[in-house]
Point group: C2
Chain length 213, copies 2
């Protein structure tokens, strides 16, 4: 089992990409891979790979390469994938529905256990085997169920109402609501700003244009 | 106008967040802000802010603080927001629809000009004033229109078919398709893996659990 010393959030943020690439290698039946081969595949330096893996005890010997299955399983465990996480989605607009319907999440151990919305027209509608419930039932639901993650895909304005109900009852918030939620003791948060990624793309395009590319 | 020397992608990736915070300050009528105040608001160090801004010529004087409107406009220009970008969406499932309907993109200069899908049942359906067209018409459309960005919100399997049609006809790809597309000369790419963010959250939760928080 990997060590759990202090690891920077930058390294943690890189783990899912390793996980995806190792999953592809495993599916192709590849058993061992050197940091050099992995680095060429993933377009990062071999030294970065070794440094990242050293944060978790190394995962294997340089020179002999890494055992792909072992590495995949270790990273799965660090990401909490084999253990599994239960999650609810609050806000069943297009984005919420897109997340609810994404089968890869289930494959990665994220089990949808509840869907909530403000729109009475949606109450009782079934999505991925789960019935949409009113947001007013959120508190009761959280007290009666073990929920790890709340996914917030609702407008910014509704967050203030839902946040006090959620805090203390979940371990993490996956927040798409355009209102940044700060991390707290015992509450992990990932704030996703899709528009940041689009603006970054626009910036890259602008810099290419300046270079005349 | 800001200088355009070589700037690391890490700094570029941080610009949209500055842009969002400065927009909020501007909306509140705040005219000047010091790097210290901005750093407390954004929860980053003042020295990182100064370093980031120095990549673009500095944007103003330390001690006197930054002129919020000037800074906002300069960053808008670097992000290509005031110039505007035209974009099409290929794949009009829930995620594509969510992006098509997101009014903030328009406010930030991203103008939707085309929607494409494989599903004949959707052809002609109007979303945000744009009619959904068959993917088979994509080539003609790109040759007849000036499109900056193609947003790919379709399954991984369809990407290979669409990619050759898109390359050479757009300046950037905003890719949600789970198939990583490499950057090329003259083609900027942002690969978005939503599940990476969810796995990162799960990892943070796991590390909190180890610490007994």
């Amino acid at each position: 089992m990997a060590e759990h010393k202090k690891v920077s959030s930058v390294v943690i943020r890189r783990l899912p990409r390793y996980y995806r690439y190792l999953g592809d290698l495993l599916a192709k039946g590849i058993k061992r891979i050197s940091s050099k081969e992995l680095s060429e595949l993933m377009n990062v330096t071999a030294s970065q790979i070794r440094q990242d893996f050293n944060c978790f005890g190394g995962f294997g010997q340089q020179g002999y390469g890494y055992n792909v299955e072992y590495l995949y399983n270790e990273i799965s465990d660090i990401l909490g994938i084999r253990k599994g996480r239960s999650m609810i989605i609050v806000g069943t607009g297009n984005l919420g529905m897109s997340i609810a319907g994404y089968s890869n999440f289930k494959k990665r151990g994220f089990n949808l256990v509840g869907l909530f919305d403000h729109n009475p027209a949606l109450y009782g509608k079934e999505v991925s085997g789960i019935k949409i419930m009113p947001v007013t039932e959120l508190k009761n639901f959280l007290q009666g169920h073990n929920v790890d993650i709340a996914v917030l895909t609702m407008p910014k304005e509704s967050v203030q109402e839902v946040l006090p109900v959620i805090k203390g009852n979940v371990k993490g918030i996956w927040n798409f609501s355009h209102k940044e939620i700060p991390q707290e003791d015992g509450l992990s948060v990932e704030n996703v700003h899709l528009s940041d990624s689009l603006m970054t793309l626009s910036c890259k395009i602008g810099r290419n244009e300046k270079l005349g590319k």
